[in-house]
C-alpha cells in the first residue's frame, strides 16, 4: 500500500516548485516527481531585440542568481560578435561573480537550507556556556562567540516564541526526530543565522561597488564593463577589499565550522548515501584565469558513474533536451541549437496530482550523452577532484581528513552541502589575488575596460559559465542585427529535470528515492535533500525555444 504526498509550495527556494512522492508503509520514498509550476516565456520576449539588450533582460530570469545570466548573455554575444573583453573586464567580472558566490552560498546555507538541519526550538534549551565550548572545539576563534552573546540570542528567540507569532517559523517541523544536532549546536548555528543576514548584505554592497546595485547589477556591456570610474578610484577598490575580507572572515570562522559541526552529527546519513541521486556530474568551467579562456578555477568536464579516476572532456554536441514529460510538444531529444518548443499544458489529474506517466512539468529534461547529470557545487568539486586540480583536491582531502570521513560521503545530501562550503572557501581565497592582478594591470598603464564592437548582421555564439547553482550556458542566434533565437540551459533545469523518454529520473527525483521520513506528515528529509541542490525555479522555467508562434501559447 503506497500513499502519495504533495509538497507544494516547496518553500525556501527561488520560485515555484512542486514535489510529489510515493511513500510505502515504512514512510520510505519509493518514487518521486518534481514539477515546475510557473512559465514566463522570457526567451520569446527576446526575439527581435537588440542583442546587446539581452543581458539586462535575461538577468531577470532570476533575482537570486542575479548577475550570472547577465554575464552568460554578454559572453554569448561576445562569442557571436567575435570579440574578447580586455583583461580588466575579465577581472572585474570575476570579482563581481566571486563576491556574490560568497554572499549567495552563505545566504543559502543559513536562510534557505539551515532550518533543514537546525531545530530553532531546541536551541532554547541550550546551555550558552556549553555552546561556547562546543564552538571553540571546532574553530580556535569562532565568529561572534561568547556565552553572553549566545544567551542574548536565546532571549531574543524566547521572546519571539512567547509572542505566539512565529511568523516564518510557524507550523514547521520542530522536534522532528530527524533533527540530530544537540541544543548547543543548534544555538551556535542559529546565532550565525542572524549574523548571516548582515554578512550577505556586506557581500551585496561589495558587488554594488562595481555593479551599481544588487540585486540586478548594471555594469556589463558587450565588450567589457562600464564601471571604469570605480575601477580607477583607489578608495573604491579599498572599499571592495575591506568588505570582501569581512565576508571571507565569516566564511572561515562561521560557515565552514558550522558545516563541519553539522557533519559531525549527520555523518551517518552521509555515509548511507542519503540524497545521492544520479551518478553523473557535469561542469562547463567557471572563473576564467586567463584571457583565452583555457584555464578555469573550476575545470570543465564530465564525471560518469561516480568514477573519480577519469574526467571526460566536455563535448557540447552531446547536450540535448527533450520534452516527453514536459508541458511542450515533441518527442525526440534535440540539441539546444535546433530545438523546437510548442507549449502543451495538460494540467493535473482529477484528484489534483501530477500526471506522472504523462507530462507533468514546465521544466525540460536536459541530458548529456543521453544521461541525466547533476550540476552545481558537488559537480564542480567532483570534476575538479577527478581532474586532479591542486587547489580543489587539497581542500576536499583536508575536509575529509578533519571529519575523518571517506570520499564516498560526498555523494549524499550532506556531501552536496559540504561541497558548497568548500568551494566558497576556494573562491574567497581568490578575491584578493584577482584584485591585486587588477591593480597591477592598471599600474602598468592598461586602463582599458571595453573592446570596440558592433552588432554583426548575422552570427551565433554561446556563453558558458558556472554560477553558484551550477553549469549555465546561453546560446544566441543573430539575424539582421536582431536576436533571431535565444536559448539558455540553466543549472536548475539540469537538476530539476523530469523523467526522459526512457523513464530515467532527473537528479532531484533520483536523490529522493529511499529517503525515509521520520514522521509521515512532515516532509523534512525531502526538503533537506531538495534544498541541498539550492533550487532556483525562475531560472529553469523560461526554457523555451521561441520558434513556436506566440499565438499558439494562448490556449485559453
Amino acid at each position: 500500500m503506497t500513499k502519495r504526498m504533495i509538497i507544494d509550495p516547496v518553500t525556501r527556494i527561488e520560485g515555484h516548485l512542486r514535489i510529489e512522492v510515493e511513500l510505502d508503509n515504512n514512510n520510505t520514498v519509493k518514487d518521486a516527481w518534481s514539477s515546475i509550476t510557473l512559465w514566463r516565456g522570457i526567451e520569446t520576449i527576446l526575439k527581435g531585440r537588440d542583442p546587446r539588450d539581452a543581458g539586462l533582460i535575461v538577468q531577470r530570469f532570476c533575482g537570486v542568481c542575479t548577475y550570472v545570466h547577465y554575464e552568460a548573455s554578454i559572453m554569448a554575444c561576445e562569442d557571436a560578435f567575435g570579440i574578447k573583453p580586455p583583461p580588466n573586464a575579465r577581472l572585474i567580472r570575476n570579482l563581481t561573480q566571486g563576491i556574490w558566490y560568497l554572499g549567495d552560498h552563505i545566504m543559502h546555507f543559513y536562510h534557505l537550507h539551515g532550518l533543514d538541519w537546525v531545530d530553532i526550538v531546541s536551541a532554547l534549551k541550550a546551555n550558552p556556556k556549553a555552546a561556547e565550548e562546543l564552538a571553540r572545539s571546532i574553530h580556535p576563534n569562532p565568529w561572534n562567540c561568547s556565552a553572553s552573546h549566545y544567551k542574548a540570542v536565546q532571549e531574543r528567540l524566547t521572546r519571539f516564541v512567547k509572542s505566539g507569532r512565529l511568523g516564518p517559523f510557524a507550523n514547521a517541523y520542530w522536534g522532528n526526530p530527524s533533527y540530530k544536532l544537540p541544543p548547543e549546536a543548534n544555538l551556535v548555528i542559529v546565532s550565525h543565522y542572524l549574523d548571516a543576514l548582515q554578512i550577505s548584505k556586506v557581500a551585496a554592497q561589495a558587488q554594488a561597488i562595481f555593479g551599481g546595485k544588487n540585486p540586478h547589477p548594471q555594469h556589463l556591456v558587450v565588450g567589457g564593463v562600464t564601471c571604469v570610474l570605480d575601477m580607477l578610484t583607489p578608495s573604491r577598490l579599498g572599499e571592495f577589499l575591506f568588505r570582501a575580507k569581512e565576508v571571507k572572515d565569516f566564511v572561515e570562522r562561521a560557515y565552514i565550522p558550522d558545516v563541519l559541526l553539522a557533519a559531525r552529527y549527520y555523518k551517518d546519513e552521509g555515509l548511507a548515501g542519503i540524497g545521492g541521486g544520479v551518478k553523473n556530474y557535469l561542469c562547463v568551467g567557471g572563473f576564467p584565469l586567463n584571457d583565452d579562456m583555457s584555464s578555469f578555477l573550476f575545470p570543465k568536464g564530465v564525471v560518469k558513474n561516480r568514477d573519480l579516476s577519469k574526467v571526460w572532456p566536455l563535448d557540447e554536441k552531446l547536450i540535448t533536451e527533450e520534452v516527453t514529460h514536459s508541458w511542450y510538444e515533441g518527442k525526440e531529444p534535440q540539441h539546444p541549437y535546433s530545438g523546437t518548443t510548442v507549449p502543451k499544458y495538460t494540467g493535473l489529474s482529477k484528484d489534483g496530482y501530477l500526471k506522472g506517466e504523462e507530462k507533468y512539468s514546465w521544466c525540460k529534461a536536459p541530458r548529456y550523452a543521453g544521461e541525466p547529470c547533476e550540476v552545481g557545487p558537488l559537480a564542480r568539486m567532483v570534476v575538479g577532484y577527478a581532474a586532479g586540480d591542486k587547489k580543489i583536491k587539497s581542500l576536499v582531502d583536508e575536509t575529509l581528513k578533519v571529519t575523518g570521513l571517506p570520499a564516498k560521503v560526498l555523494f549524499s545530501t550532506l556531501g552536496r552541502t559540504a561541497a558548497r562550503a568548500i568551494e566558497t572557501k576556494l573562491v574567497a581565497d581568490q578575491i584578493e589575488p584577482w584584485l591585486n592582478e587588477l591593480v597591477k594591470n592598471i599600474k602598468s598603464g592598461d586602463t582599458r575596460t571595453w573592446t570596440y564592437c558592433e552588432v554583426p548582421k548575422e552570427g551565433q555564439g554561446r556563453g558558458m559559465t558556472e554560477p553558484p547553482r551550477g553549469a549555465l550556458s546561453h546560446w544566441i542566434k543573430i539575424k539582421n542585427y536582431q536576436i533571431e533565437n535565444y536559448q539558455a540551459v540553466v543549472p536548475s533545469t539540469w537538476n530539476c529535470s523530469p523523467r526522459d523518454k526512457n523513464g530515467k529520473r532527473g537528479p532531484y527525483e533520483e536523490s529522493l528515492i529511499g529517503t525515509k521520513l521520520a514522521k509521515a506528515d512532515q516532509p523534512l528529509e525531502i526538503l533537506r535533500t531538495i534544498h541541498s541542490f539550492d533550487p532556483c525555479m525562475a531560472c529553469a522555467v523560461h526554457i523555451i525555444e521561441p520558434s513556436g508562434d506566440v499565438h499558439e501559447f494562448k490556449v485559453c
Binding site: 504533495i6 510557473l38 520576449i45 521572546r159 507569532r165 551599481g212 570596440y452
Partner: protein, 396 residues
C-alpha cells in the same frame, strides 16, 4: 501669508490628531509587537540620537513637517505588530532579495528584520500543507488588518494556469483574489507586480499584468526593478501612521518617493548641461564621469529617487557604475526604453541623435517644467500603446 500659515498649521495639526488616533488604534487592535524594538536598536549599537536622526530623515522623506517626528518614532516601535502576507507570482525573487539587503547598520534594516511575515515562501520554514496552513491561519486571524505584499506579475493566459500554487494547485490569479480581498492594504512591490514587468514585455506570451489590474484592487505601487527598500519601509510606516495609502501619482506610486525625475538629481547632470558626454564605453569621458545620455541613459524620462538613495547602503547606483538608467520605475520600460544603449529618438524634444548636443540647453530651460514634460511623455507612450492595442485587436 499669515492666513496661509494658519491654514497649513491647522491642516497639519488636524493630520497630527488623526495620526495619534490611528496609532492608538494600532496599539489597541493589533497584536503586541513581536520584538522589543528599542532593545534591538541597543543590541545593534544604534544610539537614541541616531534613531532620532533617522526619524527626522524619514519624516522629511515622507514629506511631513518635523512635528511628525515623534509619530514616525512611534510607528517604528509598532512596526512588528503589522502582519504581512507576502505572495510570489510570476517573479524572480529579486524584490525580496532587495528588501532583505536593505542598508546596514541602519534603522530601516532593523525594521525589516522585525517585520511580521506571516507568509513568505522564500523565508518560511514550513512547506506544502504546513505552509498552506500558515496562509489560511494568517488570513483568518488578521482579516482586514494584514498588509498584502505582492511580488511578481499575474499571468492571465491559459485561465491563469501558467502559474499554479499550493497543494491544491490553485492558480496565481485565484489565490491573489482570495488574499487581497481580506487585506487592509495591498502593496505591489517591483515592476512585475506594478504593471507586469519582464514577463509582460512584448509579446507578453503568458498575458501577464500587474496585481492591480489582475485582481481589480487599488494598490500602492513601489516601482523599480528591483525597487529601493526605503520606499517600501516608508509606505508601511505611512500605513501604520494613517491607516491608508500614501498620496500617489497616476501610476499608483507614492509621490514622496517617485515625485522627482532621476535626471534632475543626477550627480552627472552638470556634465549634461555642459554638453560633456560619454561617447563610447570606457572612453576619456567615462573615466571622468561625464553624462551617459548618448549611451542610452533614460534618466530624463524616469521618475524615482535613486540618485538620492542609491542602493545597498548608499553604495552606488547604475549611473555611478557608468551605465545609463534603463527607466525601470516606468510602465512598459522594457519596450519603451529599448534599446538600452541608445537614446530614445524622442519626438517631444526635437529628437534624433544629430541634435543631442543641443538638447542639454533646451532641457535645462525646461527643467522647471519637468513634471509637465513627463506628462507629455506619458501621453505619447499611452498613444503608442493605444495604437498597439488597436493593431492587436485588428489582428485578432
Amino acid at each position: 501669508m499669515d492666513d496661509y500659515r494658519k491654514y497649513v498649521s491647522k491642516h497639519y495639526n488636524r493630520l497630527l490628531e488623526q495620526c495619534k488616533v490611528r496609532l492608538d488604534e494600532v496599539e489597541r487592535e493589533y497584536p503586541e509587537p513581536r520584538e522589543d524594538f528599542q532593545a534591538l536598536l541597543k543590541a545593534r549599537g544604534i544610539s537614541r540620537r541616531s534613531f532620532l536622526k533617522w526619524t527626522g530623515v524619514m519624516t522629511t522623506a515622507l514629506m511631513l513637517p518635523p512635528i511628525f517626528k515623534p509619530m514616525v518614532a512611534r510607528a517604528a516601535e509598532n512596526f512588528s505588530r503589522i502582519p504581512v502576507i507576502w505572495l510570489h507570482f510570476a517573479e524572480c525573487t529579486g524584490c525580496s532579495e532587495a528588501i532583505l539587503r536593505s542598508s546596514y547598520p541602519n534603522v530601516d534594516d532593523i525594521l525589516l528584520e522585525t517585520i511580521s511575515l506571516e507568509y513568505h515562501e522564500t523565508l518560511m520554514a514550513a512547506a506544502g500543507y504546513q505552509a498552506e496552513k500558515c496562509l489560511e491561519e494568517a488570513m483568518e486571524h488578521f482579516a482586514g488588518k494584514y498588509v498584502c505584499v505582492i511580488e511578481g506579475a499575474i499571468p492571465r493566459g491559459l485561465n491563469g494556469q501558467y502559474l499554479r500554487l499550493g497543494p491544491k494547485g490553485e492558480t496565481g490569479l485565484a489565490l491573489g483574489k482570495r488574499v487581497v480581498s481580506k487585506a487592509a492594504m495591498t502593496i505591489s512591490l517591483g515592476a512585475c507586480a506594478v504593471w507586469g514587468g519582464i514577463p509582460a514585455a512584448s509579446p507578453n506570451p503568458t498575458d501577464c499584468v500587474g496585481a492591480s489590474k489582475a485582481l481589480g484592487v487599488s494598490t500602492v505601487n513601489i516601482a523599480g526593478c528591483p525597487p529601493n527598500e526605503v520606499n517600501f519601509v516608508g509606505t508601511l510606516l505611512h500605513f501604520i501612521m494613517f491607516g491608508s495609502m500614501p498620496p500617489r501619482d497616476g501610476e499608483g506610486r507614492p509621490l514622496w518617493a517617485y515625485g522627482k525625475r532621476v535626471h534632475d538629481f543626477c550627480e552627472r547632470r552638470p556634465h549634461y548641461d555642459a554638453g560633456e558626454f560619454v561617447e563610447e564605453w570606457g572612453d576619456e569621458g567615462a573615466k571622468k564621469g561625464w553624462c551617459l545620455y548618448k549611451v542610452g541613459c533614460k534618466g530624463p524620462y524616469t521618475f524615482a529617487n535613486c540618485p538620492h538613495l542609491r542602493f545597498n547602503d548608499h553604495m552606488s547606483w547604475p549611473v555611478m557604475a557608468g551605465h545609463g538608467c534603463i527607466g525601470c520605475t516606468e510602465r512598459g520600460f522594457w519596450d519603451t526604453m529599448a534599446p538600452y544603449e541608445k537614446p530614445i529618438q524622442e519626438a517631444a524634444i526635437g529628437g534624433g541623435e544629430r541634435t543631442i548636443d543641443n538638447i542639454g540647453i533646451i532641457l535645462t530651460a525646461a527643467t522647471a517644467a519637468g513634471v509637465a514634460a513627463h506628462g507629455v511623455y506619458t501621453a505619447i507612450r499611452k498613444k503608442d500603446k493605444n495604437q498597439e492595442e488597436q493593431k492587436q485587436e485588428e489582428r485578432e
